[in-house]
Symmetry: C2
Subunit: 411 residues, 2 copies
């Protein structure tokens, strides 16, 4: 029987401990748990508690390290040491994995260890392994979804209970769904990490955090919500990545979502992923994106793969897609702002709909991804509402947009 060193005993760690005890998993058992505080009461017996992660990594009896702490820097340190020590490694830390994906996958290969992170993307939804092995040989056309339960919970409260953003955020914080500093969730950073991880498995590309545009839901205001509601649309925070003619581009933007889209039904803390594949067509996976047991469930699934020495295949890395030139990507976005100088900053390629009043301007049109990235800091500072319509194109694209549109309608 393999021996596990569990580092971190918060929500996920405790969930895993209870899950393994309750299911009577017979191929591996937790030998030691590294925790920070000596004073907290714990649900695990004192004998197996340790107060140093290194002690677990250095323990020759421990074969597998499962890391479930919050601090991404400390987690990266643990990851490197574990892999270099030749131990298999499972983590739930999306920020750490996304930020160091290239280094860690290379290091794992070099040291011949299994490195898995299913729970880092959409909790209990088996999206990493599905993309990695079920779609190993199938071209992916797009991946879009709701990858962040906190922001989705807030949007659900806004749309279904007509709460204001601030009230909904407060409620999410009171329930423990949102952090005191909610930026990672409501600013679209957390879903970006997940998008970066999926991009490797779906397209074989390593994207850097700073190269992927992310807007959040924190600039949306009542008028934007009303605009959506009048058109029978919802606004969701949608990380998406598209492949057109072998060129890949992705971003995280609030997006208008219609009833025909599976994401329309994803409410509260749930997550959902739309996949468009070349042969399989439209697929949708839905489940719990966070929480103690759902996350532990994904970790336990990784554990069984690790025990059997089954790593990810990274099949798409062999013939990776090319990352598109941002200047060639045009995204249609709805924008709303009060300072008219913003219109120049936006530099629309063409405007498809507009409303001018004395108080504000509301413009929908195509902007290049490059331009949006360049001026993102201004738009965020000025609290400009930015919502994608879901339409986008690659300049000079051969594949007709029609195919994707058809798939979308079907979905």
């Amino acid at each position: 029987m393999k021996k596990i060193g569990l580092i971190g005993f918060g929500c996920v760690g405790q969930g895993l401990y209870l899950l393994l005890n309750s299911t009577g998993y017979e191929k591996a058992q937790i030998k030691s748990i590294a925790v920070k505080s000596k004073d907290k009461p714990r649900i695990a017996p004192n004998e197996i508690l340790r107060y140093s992660a290194d002690e677990l990594i250095d323990d020759p009896e421990i074969d597998i390290i499962i890391e479930a702490i919050d601090d991404a820097d400390a987690a990266f340190d643990i990851a490197r040491k574990t892999i270099v020590a030749g131990k298999d490694f499972i983590t739930a830390n999306k920020k750490m994995v996304a930020t160091h994906l290239e280094e860690l996958t290379a290091l794992a290969q070099l040291n011949n260890v299994v490195f898995r992170y299913e729970s880092a993307v959409c909790g209990a939804i088996p999206i990493v392994q599905t993309i990695d092995n079920y779609f190993a040989y199938e071209p992916i056309l797009s991946l879009r979804g709701i990858f962040n339960g906190t922001s989705n919970y807030i949007l659900s409260k806004i749309f279904n209970e007509k709460l204001e953003y601030r009230v909904a955020l407060k409620q999410a914080q009171d329930l423990g769904f949102a952090e005191t500093d909610p930026t990672a969730d409501v600013g679209g950073y957390d879903p970006k990490y997940k998008l970066i991880i999926l991009a490797l498995h779906a397209f074989g590309v390593y994207l850097a955090n700073e190269d992927v545009l992310n807007f959040g839901i924190d600039s949306l205001n009542k008028e934007d919500i009303d605009f959506a509601r009048e058109r029978n649309l919802k606004i969701k925070l949608v990380p998406s990545i598209y492949q057109i003619d072998g060129k890949v581009f992705g971003y995280v933007l609030p997006e208008f979502v219609s009833e025909k889209d599976n994401l329309y039904q994803v409410e509260n803390e749930f997550n959902g992923v739309n996949i468009e594949a070349g042969f399989a067509g439209a697929q949708f996976l839905y489940g719990r994106g966070a929480g103690s047991f759902p996350t532990a469930s994904a970790v336990a699934s990784d554990l069984d793969h690790v025990v059997n020495k089954r790593g990810y295949f990274y099949q798409k890395k062999i013939k990776p897609s090319t990352v598109a030139d941002d200047a060639n990507i045009l995204i249609e976005v709805y924008t709303r702002f009060t300072n008219e100088a913003i219109q120049k900053v936006l530099a629309f390629e063409n405007v498809t709909e507009g409303l001018f009043t004395e108080d504000f301007r509301q413009l929908t049109g195509y902007i290049s991804l490059k331009q949006l990235k360049n001026v993102a800091h201004i738009l965020k500072r000025e609290k400009v509402s930015i919502i994608a319509t879901g339409r986008r194109k690659l300049i000079g694209q051969k594949t007709t947009e029609k195919i994707l549109e058809q798939e979308k309608r079907r979905a």
Copy 2:
């Protein structure tokens, strides 16, 4: 490079041929294709066509047999010969797999060959492998879904376009979705085969075709549809399997489905599966359940597993659930009939709702699964409408129904 013998070159076989050519799969290639007719024009070169399945099975150069023919008996013959010959085997034939599941899995183990059938259940949806390995160590509480695109297409037409059953069936037949004899689809046999396959992976149990109750949609009439519509419900043909207190029971019944259920959104030829797992909670997988490329996509995924000698794990077979005694299962069903003698036949344990007129009786209540099975042939002959409400219980159950109800509301 491994060599494939493809038996059958219809919709699925051709889809696979095109898929492998187009994706440039480099680990295996089709050496020969066995077809029936010598006269049909084919999209594959003449040199690789053969006219006998045995020739492929006997070819020492062929490592893998992929069977994609319609005839379940002939397919079983091919399956046995292939496995006994020590070759890995992939099939898309749900009836054959469900009917001979115990024998074939035993035979494959004995001969140390990989035997996979992802495409046999819900086409492109990776449901077999997800249940088999992602949920290998997690207790499944229930699996319910829409596993048959033909009957779902007909129901969609009835509900969304207010077509009559006969008209919708005719339309499905004209479009090639439904066979001239549509019994397997509209009578609930096809989804039953798929349920039987999933029952093995989810609960470790082998169910016999004749032991699983199935009603179809062919007895539903306008009044039933109106009854559903007035309550803002849809009727879907739902195979479902539940585990309560370690006891498993399953059946295929038309079911009233509310807006809150993911299955409500599954329209036309699409399939969807709701999973309730002990730790992961509610999950939903959605995609194309049939069609040339979607089915070929699932076969191609199997192929890559086979090339790498990765079979299913059948983890749940080690500690299988017990099949519940039918007499202890109470299912709440809506019934509608004109012949009042039917009420005696139904033998309700208790009636929860009723409407009596001169022309018909419409009764909702709990009936034991055993009773329903015993009188199924009478109910079918008399064209009694049978629609499950989704409520059921195990007599003397310890697990409170509440847990499942909560999960359902959330889903």
